[in-house]
Assembly symmetry: C2
Amino acid sequence: MAKDFSSREDNYSQWYNDLVVRADLAENSAVRGCMVIKPYGYAIWENMRDALDKMFKATGHVNAYFPLFIPKSFFSREADHVEGFAKECAVVTHYRLKKDEQGTGIVVDEDARLEEELIVRPTSETIIWDTYKNWIQSYRDLPILCNQWANVVRWEMRTRLFLRTAEFLWQEGHTAHETKEEAIEESEKMIRVYADFAENFMAMPVMTGVKSPNERFAGALETYCIEAMMQDGKSLQSGTSHFLGQNFAKAFDVRFLSRENQLEYVWASSWGVSTRLMGALIMTHSDDNGLVIPPKLAPTQVVIVPIYKQTEQLAQISEVVNKIKSDLEAKGVTVKYDDRDTQKPGWKFNEYEFKGVPVRLAIGPRDIENGTVEVARRDTLTKEIVALNQVADMIPNLLNDIQQNLYDRAKQRMEANTREVNSWEEFKEEIEKGGFLVAHWDGTPETEQLIKDETKATIRFIPINSHFEDGKCIFSGKPSKQRVFFARAY
Amino acid sequence: MAKDFSSREDNYSQWYNDLVVRADLAENSAVRGCMVIKPYGYAIWENMRDALDKMFKATGHVNAYFPLFIPKSFFSREADHVEGFAKECAVVTHYRLKKDEQGTGIVVDEDARLEEELIVRPTSETIIWDTYKNWIQSYRDLPILCNQWANVVRWEMRTRLFLRTAEFLWQEGHTAHETKEEAIEESEKMIRVYADFAENFMAMPVMTGVKSPNERFAGALETYCIEAMMQDGKSLQSGTSHFLGQNFAKAFDVRFLSRENQLEYVWASSWGVSTRLMGALIMTHSDDNGLVIPPKLAPTQVVIVPIYKQTEQLAQISEVVNKIKSDLEAKGVTVKYDDRDTQKPGWKFNEYEFKGVPVRLAIGPRDIENGTVEVARRDTLTKEIVALNQVADMIPNLLNDIQQNLYDRAKQRMEANTREVNSWEEFKEEIEKGGFLVAHWDGTPETEQLIKDETKATIRFIPINSHFEDGKCIFSGKPSKQRVFFARAY
C-alpha cells in the first residue's frame, strides 16, 4: 500500500496530497478548487462537527440557518469587509438556462438576468446582521448566540485539499451583545473552546493569541486565533474568533434600547472553524505509513482481523470476536470486524494501518488455543499479546493512552520548534529551519510586511497575558515591549 | 399571543404563514425566495435530520460531500434532466468584484468571467455521477451507497416558507448498483424508510406509490413517493425515491467489469427529503392555538412553569422541580424549567402552547402542600392533577400517548378524506371538498393534463401492490385496470 507513496522527508507536500487521496479522505472534483469529501474523510469531519456542536450548545449557543446568497449591495456596507472579500467572490448573475438556438447545448438565458447580483457567501456577517436588525429592539432581546453549519465559497487561486479550497464546510458563530465587555468576553470564550477542542479531541496542541492588524479579519477590531505547528515547521491557523465592535451594527443600523433607555448600537463577535481542521489533523499526527487518527475522532477505533485457513476456524474465531466486539461496544468503543474473505490478513493490516485506525486486534487459531489476542497500536506501531479475557477491559485505557501519546508527541515537537531569536541575522537563519521564532517587533505593519517580503514569515500571533519585556525590534531596532510569534504558515 | 393570528377556517394559507413566523420557525430574508431558519425551527429540523441520518446509516449508507457547483456542460448530458431543471437554475458567471470606478459601490469585475458558467446545484446527480466514474471499475466497487446533507437552489417564482423556497436544505442519496433489480430494491427500500420516518417520528400517515410519467423526476424511469394529506384537503409530496436506470451512467460513461467479465453500465437510484417536511409537520398537527409538535421531534418535550408570589416559594418549588427534571432527563426526556421572573405564568402558558411543547407542568405552593402537579397536554389541551411522586414515571408514557394520538388523528383525517369517485361529474364536485379522489384513469399523460387543466388536481400516485379492477377512465371513458389517487397538491 505505502510503496508508491511519498515520505515526509522526500516531499512533504506530496506526502500530504498522497495521504489525503489514497486514504480516501478527499479528492479534487471537476469544478476548479472544489473538493469531494469522501465517506471516510466525511466520517472524521462528522465526529469533529458533533464534538464541536456539543461544546457550542454547552456554552449556550443555538444553531440556525441563513441564506447562501448575499445581495451585492450588502457587501459594500462595511468598508473593510468588502475590501477583504471582493477579490474572491463567486457571483450569481442569472437565474435561468435555455436551449442554445444555434447549437445543441444549453446557454445562459440573457432574459433572466438578476436585477442585483448575488454573492455566494464567503462568510455571513452581512446577511446575518441584516436579519438581526429585525430581531433586536431592546436589551431584553440580547444576547443572541447563534451558530450555523454551512458551506462557504472563496475563489482562491491556488487550492489544496482541505487546507485551501474554493468551497469549504465550516461553522460560523455570530453573536450580538449589549456591551463591549460582553462581546469581548464571548470572543475570548470561543477561542478557548477551539483550543480545548484542538487539544482534547484532535490531540493537537495550539498556541493562542491575537493577530496583528495586518492579519486581522476584514471588519474586526481584534482577531483571536489558535495556531498549530505542523511537522514541516510551518504554522497552521486553525480557528479564529473576532471581536467586531459595533462595525456591523452600524453598517446595518442595528440598535437597541438599553437598560438606561438609550438607543445604542449592538456589539458583535463572530468565530469559525472549517474543514481546514482536517488538514491540521492529518499533518499533525500522520507518518510515512499513512494516516494516524486520534481515538476520539476515529470513525473506527478498533479493527479486528481474523487469521484463518479453514472455514471452521473462522466460525470459532468469530464466536470469540463477537463477544469482544459487543463488550467493547457496551463500553462505547466503535469496532469493525473485517471478516471479508476477499482480502488477505496482510492486505487488511496494511489498509487499516494506512487509514490510521488506532488499534488493531488479530486473532488466529493459535490465539484461540492459548486464550490470547494480538493488540497493535497505530501510533507507536508496537504489538503485544493480551489475554482474551482481559482485552475488552484494557482497550478503553489503551485508547486514552494513544490519545495522550499523540498529544504529547505533538506538544514536544511544538516546543522543540519554538525558540527565541534576538537578531535579524539569527532570524533569517532560523526561519529556514521552520518553527515559531519568538522575537521583538516594533509594532508597525510596515515592518511586518518587510519581514514577510524578505523571509515569507508572518506574525502568527501576539501572545495575550504574556509577560512584557523591553527589547528592540529584530528588524528595525526600534523599541518593543513584547515578543511576538513569527512563522511561515499555511 | 393567538389574538391577531388567523384561524384555519378563516384563512388557511394565512394561518400557516402566521404560524411559521410567529412561532419563530422561519422568516423571509432579504434575498428573494430564500428563508432564514430560526433557532427554534432549526432545532426541529436537527431532530429530523438526526433521526433520518440514523436510519440511513442503519440501512448501510454513508455520508459524503460533493461540490455546490456543477459545470454547465454536465447539465446537458442527460436530456430529460436538463429539460427539468434548466428553467430554475442560479448561474455563477464571475468570480470577482471590484470597486466601481465611476461610483462608490462595487461592481462585478468583467475581467473575471468564468470560462464555463457554474450552476448552483438544484440536485447533484450530474456532479456525483461524474465523480463515481472514477470510483467504479469492477463489480467489487459496487454498491456505492452515499448520502449527502446539503443546500440546493431551485429558482422558484412563487415561494412559501419551507414548502417552496429558492434555497432549501435536504439530503440526497445517490446509489450505484450492479443490477437493475438491486437498484429498484434500493429505491423501494428508501421510500419505505421515508414512510417509516413520516409515520413513526412525524406522526404523519402517508400513502406510498409511484408517480405517473408526467410527475416523474427529470431523468428517472420510476419515481416512488410518499404523500400526506394536509388539514385543508391538499396533498403534500413529502419524499421521493427514484429508480434512474442506466441514464446517468450512460450520460457520464460509468461502466464496470461485471462478474461475467463484461463491461456494463451501472444502475442507479437517488432519493431525497427536504426542509419541506417542516411544512408537512406544521400543517399536519397544528391548530388555531398554534404549533403542535410530536414528542419525538420536539426540541423541548416537557416545560415546567413555577407559579409563585414570593421568592421563598420559588426556592421551594425549584427544589421539587429540579428533582423531577433530573428524573425525567435520566429517562431521556428533554425538559426546560422556565423560572424567569421577567414573564408571568400566563404569558409562559401561552408561549409554550403556541410553540407546541407537548407537555406542560405547572407547580405552585398549593401543589407543594398537596404533593401534586398540574399536567397539561398540548394535543388535547386537557389538564390533570398528578401526584408529585408519580409524575416522572408517567411522563414517558404520556409522551407516547401524545405521539400515538397525533398519528391516529391525522390517520383518521386522511381516511375520512379519501373516497372513490366514479364519474366526471362526481369528480368535479368532490375535488372542491379536497382530499384524495380514488378514480379510474386511462393511463395517458394527455388525460392527466386535461384533468389538471380543468380541476387543478393531479395524480398524486399510482398505488403499488394494489388490487386491480377493470373500470373506465372518469374523464375519457376509456378502459382502465386500476384506480389512482388524485388530489390538489402543494
